[in-house]
Subunit: 464 residues, 2 copies
């Protein structure tokens, strides 16, 4: 009869310990395939435990396939591999790169977390939690309340006529790019601004779309190159291009819409930075002057509220909306109900102007001040040849007074704990005209520490 020292079981329950010992014996071969286990009653008596204990262990072994129960005959050991395949000295885990603490970071355009409307957000969150709104089922396009609030904001503050039914909410810009790629189809040829935001290229590329870098002229994507590209879709940021800062004027916008109509194409209007326009009114979006349903509009709340919130949305024209529901409707929404509810209230509440617009207005003022101080300071630095300030967005270009290679500068900067982004990095097709130009993302810059920033940059650029 099977004998186990039940006193050696440590903190395990009798049933658990018995199960483990039996399993080990099956795996080691001490109990051979086909062998019959003692009856529950007999083993219980032998080990001085209750029948229930043995029964539990046997049932567990059966559920896991170690033994086989035959009616009225008992439990028989199943044929299992005696030994697990020997562990090979496989490759170890690749170490995870810890996030680096930079002394100065001009590359990441992360919004300043101190601008986040913490008290109001906490209040709205408590409201939603107490009302159970965080448990609401979320349709795949997003909660109706949120889509209505977004449509209202687009109408009131961007002059866009958008129905909530056209809106698809998703977990940030890259997830939306990925949905869009699936919507455009594998055969899509996508024109991308060059230079441009690299993640757009990466996502469409991962999807396997044929991406065509299109050079920019002073007004945005070059039309001649766009026509010649054979593209079926063009991804643009006409409000404020990253990283050049180009604002596409109205005539070019109209010409781009004409291209879309003639090429039977789609324009993806990536409006990521348009809320931070510091002079004049926001420029009308391509979506709002598009009468043929050629434009997909997209934006996120990463810059305006917080990148840690992971919420964006896109507005689909009718021709893509139906396809989206038919082909991508099986995807569950990627944004938690809680975030959607709180954001919907933030966009809707607060009276005329909405809490969101009040927040934007405050934030815009703070960034305008920060921008001005940074521009003034950098303009006077000996390493600055010229600044390109377009009065919009959370970055600007700084042409450097140097002939040194961008890569060498970046390496020297990293050695000093300084993270820099150069215009040349954003180009798919290299161009000497892009050299020696820094993309200054000032959103996270502390103006109280501009002396230190200047000193660090001087060490990077003025040391030879």
């Amino acid at each position: 009869m099977l004998t186990y020292d039940l006193e050696a079981r440590g903190g395990l329950s009798l049933y658990e310990y018995l199960y483990r010992r039996l399993r080990d014996d099956i795996l080691s071969g001490a109990l051979a395939a086909g062998e019959r286990l003692p009856s529950k009653r007999a083993l219980a008596e032998h080990l001085r435990v209750s029948v229930v204990t043995v029964e539990g262990a046997y049932q567990q072994l059966e559920a896991e396939g170690y033994v086989d129960a035959r009616p009225r005959r008992g439990f028989f050991v199943s044929p299992v591999d005696r030994r697990l395949p020997a562990a090979e000295a496989g490759p170890g885990l690749p170490a995870e790169e810890p996030p680096r603490a930079w002394r100065l970071d001009l590359k990441s355009g992360r919004a300043d977390p101190s601008f986040f409307p913490s008290a109001l957000w906490a209040r709205l969150t408590r409201q939603v939690l107490s009302e159970g709104g965080h448990l609401a089922p979320v349709p795949h396009q997003g909660l109706p309340e949120l889509r209505e609030a977004i449509a209202r904001d687009l109408r009131d503050f961007k002059g866009m006529a958008v129905s909530p039914e056209q809106i698809v909410v998703g977990a940030g810009a890259e997830y939306l790019y990925l949905l869009l790629a699936q919507l455009l189809g594998r055969e899509a040829v996508i024109a991308l601004e060059d230079p441009g935001y690299p993640k757009i290229r990466q996502v469409y590329g991962k999807w396997g779309a044929d991406c065509r870098p299109i050079p920019l002229d002073g007004q945005g994507m070059n039309l001649e190159a766009l026509y010649a590209s054979g593209a079926t879709a063009a991804h643009l940021s006409p409000a404020h291009h990253y990283p050049t800062g180009i604002v596409t004027p109205i005539a070019r916008r109209q010409a781009l819409l004409r291209w879309a109509e003639e090429a039977d194409g789609i324009i993806i209007e990536d409006d990521y930075d348009s809320e931070f326009r510091f002079t004049g009114r926001p420029i009308p979006t391509l979506q709002s002057i598009d009468s043929r349903g050629r434009v997909v509009y997209m934006n996120t709340f990463s810059q305006t509220i917080s990148p840690s919130m992971r919420v964006g949305f896109m507005v689909l024209p009718p021709r893509l909306l139906e396809r989206c529901r038919r082909e991508l409707g099986f995807y569950a929404s990627t944004v938690p109900a809680l975030e959607q509810q709180v954001l919907a209230r933030f966009l809707s509440g607060g009276g005329s102007g909405s809490w969101y617009e009040q927040h934007l207005s405050r934030t815009r003022k703070k960034y305008r001040l920060r921008r001005q101080k940074v521009l003034e300071r950098f303009a006077l630095c000996p390493f600055a040849a010229s600044l390109t300030d377009r009065g919009a967005g959370l970055h600007f270009l700084l042409r450097l007074n140097t002939e040194e290679d961008d890569e060498a500068l970046r390496r020297r900067a990293e050695g000093l704990g300084v993270r820099l982004g150069f215009l040349s990095e954003y180009a798919a097709v290299p161009n000497p005209a892009y050299a020696h130009t820094l993309v200054v993302n000032y959103a996270g810059l502390d103006v109280e520490r501009l002396d230190e920033a200047e000193a660090l940059l001087s060490r990077v650029f003025l040391t030879r």
Copy 2:
């Protein structure tokens, strides 16, 4: 000189109104391309407004490209399309299907929201908000605190040796399938359980992977068919297959791992329902008996906490982890920092056993009771031929006492406000053996209303 009736401006500011009138005149052709606008001072004097007002309007027109500023010469009208392309009677918006309120829904396996630990969750959320944890930058694999908490839970309650570095957090199962598809590459041939969960097929199919439906036998995926398929990856749910409920025994698990080694393949272990095992201990995962790094383990908190939370994770073996960081590291995390922080605390806090495990234990008891009552009731219904109860999961199979076609039954049910799911719907390759079998998702069933449910089902199945 340009003359506008500034009294007609309604609620608009002077500057805004002037800008709009000038823009309209440019678009209508009243101001022709090349024409010079009056000087700011002259127009201001003429209209009796301040120079600042005219300046604002001119700058806005310039920013949008309607006019061109030439240094020391003034503002000139730019060439723009006079008319926007005429709005075509395009297709209207396809109507959004409103979610239907079913009288009885046996198809959606949505967890019961009343089981959600609301008070504790609200408390943890308040904590995180007051500490600013919701503003934390989120690395692409997810917050370290959350990954550590998940690894600890997997170790303590599933006997899995997992490093937090191997974990990737994402916005629900389908998003993780999409990431995995990108990781496996376009040339992947993916073996899928048939019948099986349709979204798996849909996501991999969208990605363009070659999917091979593999029939099941009583132990899970049929090995012979798997070997013959030429698959490079197999997506499995060995703990409790949806919808058949099959539990894969240990010998088959070992054989599947051997297949992966011999075929140089990957096994995706989708452990979605494993927490709801009502008899015995949880069955060891494939991941925990895999010594060769062939298994990707994945799970979500949709069933165990709430589907409205949208959080899942996967555990990558070293060979895929490095590739994930290299090729997919550019994707931002899709889960808000707030959800990640709160979930991390829920998984870690509460002393031994953790709040999460205490919650699971309570939830399991409630579902066990509900299951038992539903099984007892359904077993006695005249329309039930037999029940397949595997003591696990939030669904079971009910073979119907009917020869009627599944599709006809579903239609009749829908007419009565009853939503049903049939085993046959889940099959990629039709098989007559699947007919007349209902998949009963009982998680959302109200046991107080079983009389009503039975009456409704009787009307569906016993009416001819």
